[in-house]
């Protein structure tokens, strides 16, 4: 499966087919989830209308963890099998992942103010999420800073794989340590503890975020395929023998 998509032409054909589908899923889910989340779902008996922050906070948190999982798998694929597109996939996921992690921190902080009476506490969930955000920034910096792409790719794969250690820490931090943050209420062994009237808009919003992530990654990888094509052509043009009149032969 992975080797099938390691061919840029095949990936391009797949992306051309999958991009509009992911865009359709995104818009369809948003069309239902936004009015449900902002208007039709009930307010919480304790938190009042601030519970509506959950519909943007929780999907962002889920996606920030899934996106790093994706980066780790792609980094491992690139590390072991040297698939040419695996690095591009991991790199394309880093920007959206960083924004999801940043949004989780921002919306969580704004939600925490009326709910906990503070914008920030250095507890395990919040701190591990901040570390995840900083790991994304570090991963992006590794790609951007180096002049030698092969070396940058090698280092980025290591950051992508090692950084994943933090993802289960983020997920289980509320179980392992005392935290102001509530326990898991959706992904639990005994099922979700949220009422269906809130679970539906939350699930649809999470699906919309997943579709957006898929679309962003497909677009990012397609961009990198075109960039490589252009770089190869430019190299070929530059390496042509120069004619006596100073122009490249055949130009």
């Amino acid at each position: 499966m992975l080797s099938y998509f390691s061919n840029p032409a095949r990936f391009e054909a797949f992306a051309r087919w999958a991009s509009p589908i992911s865009l359709f899923v995104l818009l369809a889910c948003l069309a239902v989830a936004v009015p449900m989340g902002l208007y039709f779902s009930p307010e919480d008996y304790q938190q009042g209308h601030t519970v509506r922050i959950m519909y943007v906070h929780v999907p962002a948190a889920i996606m920030s963890e899934l996106a790093f999982g994706f980066i780790a798998v792609m980094s491992l694929t690139a590390f072991v099998w040297r698939h040419s597109l695996a690095d591009s996939c991991a790199r394309a996921a880093a920007g959206p992942g960083a924004i999801f992690a940043g949004l989780t921190l921002l919306t969580g902080s704004i939600w925490g103010h009326p709910t906990w009476g503070t914008w920030w506490v250095w507890d395990a969930r919040l701190t591990s999420m901040l570390i995840l955000f900083l790991t994304y920034i570090g991963y992006i910096a590794v790609w951007q800073m180096g002049t030698d792409e092969t070396k940058s790719a090698r280092l980025a794969r290591i950051v992508g794989m090692v950084g994943f250690i933090n993802v289960p820490i983020v997920k289980f931090s509320v179980d392992w340590w005392n935290s102001l943050h509530q326990d898991a209420s959706i992904l639990r062994a005994d099922g979700p503890t949220i009422h269906a009237s809130m679970l539906w808009p939350l699930g649809l919003m999470a699906l919309a975020y997943m579709a957006l992530f898929a679309w962003l990654v497909l677009s990012g990888v397609r961009t990198s395929i075109y960039e490589k094509q252009i770089a190869r052509r430019s190299e070929r043009t530059a390496s042509r023998p120069i004619a006596t009149d100073g122009t490249a032969e055949g130009a």
Binding site: I53, T107, L216
Partner: protein
């Protein structure tokens, strides 16, 4: 309607979170789409030039 925007006194908290989410994610989507269109056009132009070169005497 005013009650809807008031959000039970938490308008700042709720609307800021939703606004930030839509602006940041929408901004990223628009940036990626523009970049893809621009680079795809560049690649197409190079294709056209390469074909013209190969067919020219």
């Amino acid at each position: 309607m005013a009650e809807f925007f008031y959000m039970g006194g938490y308008a700042f908290h709720v609307w800021t979170c939703w606004g930030l989410s839509f602006v940041l994610l929408g901004g990223l989507a628009i940036t990626r789409r523009r970049k893809l269109r621009h680079i795809a056009e560049l690649a197409r132009n190079m294709d056209v030039e390469a074909k013209a070169e190969s067919t020219s005497p």
